[in-house]
């Protein structure tokens, strides 16, 4: 994460470099064109002042001169040719250089593009990775949350089971205590009355609500009295059980 700002800046910098390099090369090409050597025209030869000395000599001289001139011409031609060749070569060379340059530039451009592409890809990849990581992180968080919830639920269920079993261990004592406080003032065989009993953490009876009347108030009232008289009821001391046991049903079935 901490590396990402630099990562984010570097492609920009690379792009700037690429542009600069292009400009530099462009300039260089311009300069090279500017300094291209001009073809220097050979100055025309100055006619020699001949003084007739002898014809032969003159002739010879003439011939010589002619030969020389031819030679000169030839030389000039040769030179010219050479120069042309040279020029041609140079041009070729130049062309070649240019082509090379161009190729290089293209290559460079290509490389830059490739680099750019690569960088973009890299960037894209990085973004993807980042995205993926983020998603993974999110998923993991969700998983953790779900696991924690499941654990909490499992714990609650465990608590509940433990509470119920703790209550079960005391149920007989509770039953005895209420039974022994119930005066059963008559024969109520076949009848039944139910109560919802709420207790505090010490087992003190807070409220007794009749949930199913027997139809005989003497049974109903004596049973209700019995629950109150039995208070406080034997009750688990473990505080986390309280939630599950704070209310329960009493059914009187004489």
């Amino acid at each position: 994460m901490s590396r990402s700002p630099r990562k984010a800046a570097s492609p920009i910098r690379g792009f700037i470099y690429a542009v600069l390099i292009h400009i530099v090369f462009g300039a260089l090409i311009g300069v090279s064109l500017w300094f291209q050597p001009q073809v220097i025209e050979p100055l025309p030869g100055k006619p020699m002042q001949a003084k007739a000395i002898d014809l032969a000599a003159i002739e010879r001289a003439k011939a010589e001169k002619k030969r020389k001139a031819t030679e000169k011409k030839k030389a000039a031609e040769k030179k010219k040719e050479k120069e042309a060749l040279k020029k041609k070569e140079e041009a070729l060379k130049k062309k070649k250089a240019k082509a090379e340059k161009k190729r290089k530039a293209t290559e460079k451009k290509k490389a830059a593009e490739k680099k750019k592409e690569k960088e973009a890809l890299k960037k894209k990849k990085a973004a993807e990775v980042k995205k993926k990581a983020k998603a993974e992180k999110k998923r993991k968080a969700a998983e953790k949350k779900a696991r924690e919830a499941a654990e909490a639920q499992a714990q609650l269920e465990r608590d509940e089971r433990e509470a119920v079993s703790a209550f079960g261990a005391l149920a007989w004592a509770i039953q005895q205590q209420v039974s022994s406080n119930w005066s059963e003032p008559g024969d109520f065989s076949g009848m039944s009355v139910s109560f919802l009993v709420k207790v505090d953490r010490d087992g003190n009876v807070i409220s007794v609500t009749i949930t199913n009347e027997s139809g005989d108030t003497r049974l109903d009232e004596s049973a209700e009295n019995a629950i109150f008289k039995a208070s406080p009821l034997p009750f688990p001391t473990e505080p986390r059980y309280y939630e599950y046991l704070k209310e329960f049903n009493f059914v009187f079935k004489p």
Partner: protein, 440 residues
């Protein structure tokens, strides 16, 4: 006597699967099938006396004794009382919940004038903090005991739903013999608690047997003798006027009279020509009809509350057992099959149970048992060796019987569930054959 059936139910209706909010939970269930073996705890505060000197009667003591004797109540000791209110406004219900009273009786006796008293009481519901019943009586000193019994009846009814039978009378026979000379027999009538005994008849050397109340409580039928030479006969006596007459001149000896529920008939035993059978006599006309015809001894008839059947004791199987027969005769059906001997049966007011004397043949003698007609099972209520003549109270809640205390014959009462037994009469000579009146 009663076993606590530990029918415990620990049910999870929602199960452990669905985790419900704690408020919606509450599926734990405890089932109670039987109450305790003592009665309803009740606190009776001594009645406040507004008058000169000492009150003529201790109303509270009479009520407490009545309620205790019924076996339905556990009278809390007055020493435990945190306060002694006599008015509703003085009652702190919390005080009474603390000692686990379910009901509270308070009252006062005001001397209004010469031999004029006002008795008032309230029965309070301690847990619901309300008055269940409150009454006021204006009476003379002589009526104070009766008022106390009437209060007991009212409390009994409010608490149990059963009509009280404290303000009723009992009849019994006493025998006194002084200096190995004459035997004095007395037919007595007293309050149901044995108090205020009144002599109805006295005979010398002529036994009085088997007193039986007419359903309206005005007549007593009993067995006696005109003179030393005559046979036993049935007498009817108006207990208010004292007038008496024999009901029928029969051959042989008549005994064991029993009134039909409508008071128009008497079942009785007649021993004639060497045979003893049950007869039914129309009181108004004196017409008599034989009900059983068996060479064995058939005696001690008693009517069912609906008047359609009679039970009686017969030794036709070799030993005395209880049989039942239709009021118009027919085939007698044996009811008791357990025990060596069963005798002197009578119905309770519901017609579902019989009280009788039983000898189980274990050498323990004779006790009082209650026999369920539905199940055929007998429950023993007493543990004496010579308990006899049991009779249900008119409400079926108690049984009066005769028993031995040392060398004395005494009168005793037992609650119908056998929990509370009490001796009612002592030092009154030999007390025999109690009978409980159906009404005052």
């Amino acid at each position: 006597m009663r076993r606590l059936v530990a029918g415990m139910l620990l049910a999870l209706s929602a199960g452990c699967v669905a985790l419900l909010p704690a408020s919606a939970f509450a599926a734990l269930t405890i089932e109670i099938t039987q109450g305790e073996d003592s009665g309803t705890p009740i606190a009776a505060v001594p009645f406040r006396w507004h008058g000169e000197g000492e009150p003529p009667e201790d109303i509270r003591a009479i009520i407490a004794a009545d309620l205790h004797r019924s076996g339905r109540f556990d009278l809390l000791p007055t020493n435990d009382f945190l306060s002694k209110p006599s008015e509703v406004t003085e009652v702190r219900y919390k005080d009474w919940r603390l000692i686990k009273a379910e009901a509270l009786v308070i009252g006062r006796v005001i001397e209004k004038g010469p031999d004029q008293f006002e008795v008032s009481f309230q029965l309070l519901d301690v847990y619901r903090e309300r008055i269940k019943v409150g009454l006021r009586f204006s009476v003379s000193a002589a009526q104070l005991r009766q008022v106390a019994h009437q209060i007991s009846d009212r409390i009994f009814y409010e608490m149990t739903g059963i009509r009280g039978a404290f303000d009723t009378r009992i009849a019994y026979v006493t025998m006194n013999q002084q200096d190995n000379s004459d035997r004095l027999y007395r037919l007595m009538v007293a309050d149901s608690d044995g108090h205020d005994p009144q002599q109805i008849l006295q005979t010398t050397n002529l036994p009085i047997l088997s007193p039986a109340w007419s359903p309206n409580g005005e007549w007593l039928a009993y067995v006696s003798f005109s003179d030393a030479t005559s046979g036993a006969n049935i007498w009817l006596q108006d207990i208010n006027s004292g007038n008496r007459r024999t009901i029928a001149q029969v051959e042989g000896a008549a005994s064991a009279p029993a009134w039909s529920p409508d008071g128009k008939w008497l079942a009785l035993t007649i021993s004639a020509k060497g045979n003893t059978d049950i007869y039914v006599l129309q009181v108004a006309s004196g017409d008599i009809r034989q009900l059983t015809r068996h060479p064995a001894i058939d005696t001690e008839p008693a009517w069912s509350p609906d008047g359609r059947h009679l039970v009686f004791t017969s030794d036709r199987s070799g030993r005395p057992q209880i049989y039942r027969i239709g009021r118009n005769g027919g085939e007698a059906e044996r009811l008791t099959r357990e025990g060596k001997e069963n005798a002197r049966a009578s119905y309770d007011p519901s017609g579902k149970r019989l009280v009788m004397v039983t000898n189980r043949g274990t050498g323990a003698g004779y006790q009082i048992g209650v026999f369920s007609l539905a199940s055929g099972e007998m429950e023993l209520l007493t543990d004496g060796t010579l308990d006899e003549s049991p009779t249900f109270s008119p409400n079926g809640a108690m049984i009066l019987y005769a028993t031995r205390l040392g060398r004395d014959g005494v009168l005793a009462a037992v609650s119908a569930d056998g929990r509370v037994r009490q001796i009612l009469k002592m030092h009154d000579g030999e007390v025999r054959e109690p009978a409980w009146a159906a009404s005052r």
